[in-house]
Assembly symmetry: D2
Homo-oligomer: 293 residues x 4
Amino acid sequence: MANSKYEYVRNFEQPDVLLPNTWIVVRIDGRGFHKLTAKYSFEKPNDRRALDLMNAAAAGVMKELPDLVMGYGISDEFSFIFHKDCTLFERRASKLTTTIVSTFTSHYVFMWPTYFPSVLLTPPLPSFDGRAVLYPSVTNLRDYMSWRQVDCHINNLYNTTFWALVQQGGLDAKAAEKELTGTLSSHKNEILFSRFKINYNNEPEMFKKGSVLFRDFEISSSAETTAPNPTSAPVPSDSATSPDIAPPAPLSKTAAEKDRKRRLKARIAIEHIDIIRDEFWDQRPWILSGKAP
Amino acid sequence: MANSKYEYVRNFEQPDVLLPNTWIVVRIDGRGFHKLTAKYSFEKPNDRRALDLMNAAAAGVMKELPDLVMGYGISDEFSFIFHKDCTLFERRASKLTTTIVSTFTSHYVFMWPTYFPSVLLTPPLPSFDGRAVLYPSVTNLRDYMSWRQVDCHINNLYNTTFWALVQQGGLDAKAAEKELTGTLSSHKNEILFSRFKINYNNEPEMFKKGSVLFRDFEISSSAETTAPNPTSAPVPSDSATSPDIAPPAPLSKTAAEKDRKRRLKARIAIEHIDIIRDEFWDQRPWILSGKAP
Amino acid sequence: MANSKYEYVRNFEQPDVLLPNTWIVVRIDGRGFHKLTAKYSFEKPNDRRALDLMNAAAAGVMKELPDLVMGYGISDEFSFIFHKDCTLFERRASKLTTTIVSTFTSHYVFMWPTYFPSVLLTPPLPSFDGRAVLYPSVTNLRDYMSWRQVDCHINNLYNTTFWALVQQGGLDAKAAEKELTGTLSSHKNEILFSRFKINYNNEPEMFKKGSVLFRDFEISSSAETTAPNPTSAPVPSDSATSPDIAPPAPLSKTAAEKDRKRRLKARIAIEHIDIIRDEFWDQRPWILSGKAP
Amino acid sequence: MANSKYEYVRNFEQPDVLLPNTWIVVRIDGRGFHKLTAKYSFEKPNDRRALDLMNAAAAGVMKELPDLVMGYGISDEFSFIFHKDCTLFERRASKLTTTIVSTFTSHYVFMWPTYFPSVLLTPPLPSFDGRAVLYPSVTNLRDYMSWRQVDCHINNLYNTTFWALVQQGGLDAKAAEKELTGTLSSHKNEILFSRFKINYNNEPEMFKKGSVLFRDFEISSSAETTAPNPTSAPVPSDSATSPDIAPPAPLSKTAAEKDRKRRLKARIAIEHIDIIRDEFWDQRPWILSGKAP
């Protein structure tokens, strides 16, 4: 019984290869997490167990996909970065996106009992959606990361103040929302401090900065011992004369395999630090170079 | 701290809305399941627990996504069908695909202990990738389904014979493979019967036909009591004069909500039957019409 | 001097093959024709020479591209239809679209002196842009055509009334526009008749209906001698049981070549008739079947 | 007569906006020019009138589209470059591609009598197809240009030798082709010189280098008076620290309009020079910066 009669249906599959030499960001988001946080009584404004579970799932993704150079998470969202030279799955968008979403979900559900030992999952289960976005230059990529980290700050300051007003100030949600409408950051800081003795600066870094995941090769010693020189950017340049992005000068097969192994072996670091300024990137040049040091 | 400086990065997001009035098939596949079946010692050629788990996960997906009109699974793959009129997530490809993959993965991992009570999952965890394919006509869609079911048959006959040769015939994998090279179906049937007393026709329907999932509204009585009339196709026609597919005559909001509720309430049937001939479709007209009866 | 060092740039080319089994409409539009009609003093509301030139250019396109089954033009726009089974240029969108736009432009400029013998073209020259849109069903395709023809009617009634108010009624543009704001068709008909003794029904069919181009195989005799039967649609049905759209049953090479030759030889008819009702399509079944009779 | 019933067909139009911050190359090619060159008896291996006509048409395109920063033509193909910051037509691929193809065709047909005064065009008329390709970095873009110029050289050396063998050597096409199979550049140079006294280096630059079109602002004086310094690339860098490609710092409206006018006013230069080495780019920094000096 041959299958040739029906095989023509394969011609309806359409290619979705992503443009070469561009950074691939896959951002995933919890589906219906507003409902889910209520169902499982997550603590407000931040539930540390939930954030730790997100980070553990993201670390699982980075371990299974050594091509990823970085992850960044806030609340129920996570962004994963593939290097612009990445050729995993021939850069097929569906394959890259679904693989990340599936691997993340798998770890999230698998490790739920570790982080919520007394809370039983029941259907509908946690799930995530995701999409890929391309960024042609390092500037664009870093601006994307900055955008997410600024968003983390804005949301967290708002949520911290909102829940202080509700939990300690005795306001209902509507009144708290009204109180905050149109307020600047400085006003929120003031509300927190004057009414609730909360110094926002002393809030946990994880809540204020989000979670940054990367492969933990040792911090480059030159960066540690000498002050990073802002004028001699160690990040790869995309300029016409730079050999770094000259036409693919691919690693030899042996070198590529060795590089891959180093990446697989490296510990996944989870830190809560500034990724807007140059320092983070200057000290970890392997993130933007895509080469294990 | 405004975020406007970085917000321009949103302009790099590109729309991926799928063409209207086409059937959307999302097919997902187990990632690295060759390795996974070895790691967890799945039975060969078919592990009923594993197939039941696949079906349970697929049923979970159909329960959480009432827009799905059908599912079809074989081995470690599953196809899910959205009706051509579906407007879920504005038909965004990434959103549809990742939601299905994530929901499936979530249920797969969550229900693993039910189907493999004595087998502990360990990382790397099971995961799935997926993609969406569009089919403009009912014929194309049914040919896609037929293609998968024929593939199920071809693969299962091969695998059944291969593993009989190995498990009962004492051949090693290489010898078994060589023995089967270039054989027709009839030869494989003969090998099974003459050497191993296996009548392939008596093999479980689940292995031979795969698993068909749909919402179990009662079989339409007219279809039951009268012989289906092949010349008066009850399937929706795409012809120019047919009112069925005339420009979107969307249900009223109330009707749509009622329809949605009926679909949510319906039991998900899991059957192992022929979907190549007309009978299956004639008896369940709601699958192709997309309207709960 | 080998070229291999640079050839990697070809990898940046991305495929743009259009979904099979869908109707391809390429619509082109004059660029900046508002300015151009002023520059060359086109008659208002319709310049017959300009419309005849559009039609001549469109006929040139249909002669050079036998795969086209139909064209429809109004004002400075033209829609060209490729049959859903068309495989020209492997259905690459850029190639189909640019070829039509270029061939049209070529004929437009080449034949300008024939239609405007005393008007010399000078740069900036007339040009057109275009795009491809897919329609999965015959209903969708015919609704597209109806949409354009209704638009033709609406615009022409408006323009006829507007220019009557200006040219014969002595109003300036602003006053005429104001007078017509919010008027129904019946009001415009009345203005034309009561003030200017113009019976809109007697306006030229070309202005009211636009221009329909198709290959002029003789009108099918059955359609001529017997009344078209609206219930037995001779147009191809997309239904699941119809053999017409079953998986591509491509013509044999000889048959395909013969079919192509018949199409090349056929006269291009230019008519100004209703394409909204069934009659047009019933009488020319080869347009939707894509097969020369 | 409202059009709302059919207007839903607009939902089938799909967006095709090109990724921001990437260089857009639109390459157009003559359709069936092998046949056309025979029909109009173009001189071999190069017909100067035909090349001059191509260049004149390309110059017409650049004059009508001030957003173009450069053009490069060989034989019957032309590449046009939009700057990576270009926002013309919201970067819609179809619109950009068809506009260039149409404008080029328009000028080609319009100016034919100027370049071929004694050769009457007859249908089928000359036409061109085209496509857009994106290049994320300046290196990628320059490699694309280098690829085309190397191709020009390879093809021209081959054609020059082939036609010398045929026209002066008395070989037929088959014999000439056989003679050249597998030969290196050096062999072809030797054949030309030893048999036909042709020094390939003395062939016209137009044939050897192709035609480079750009806006002729005066050569930057610093570049003229001092030797270009290959280590201090004046071309815009894509590096993270470069202000040049920082998030769109768009020109003010007035500045943008002024810039546009300068570009419109500039003469279109047509030169036959090397664009592989840095010199060309260093001396005309406005090409890669996209800003009129």
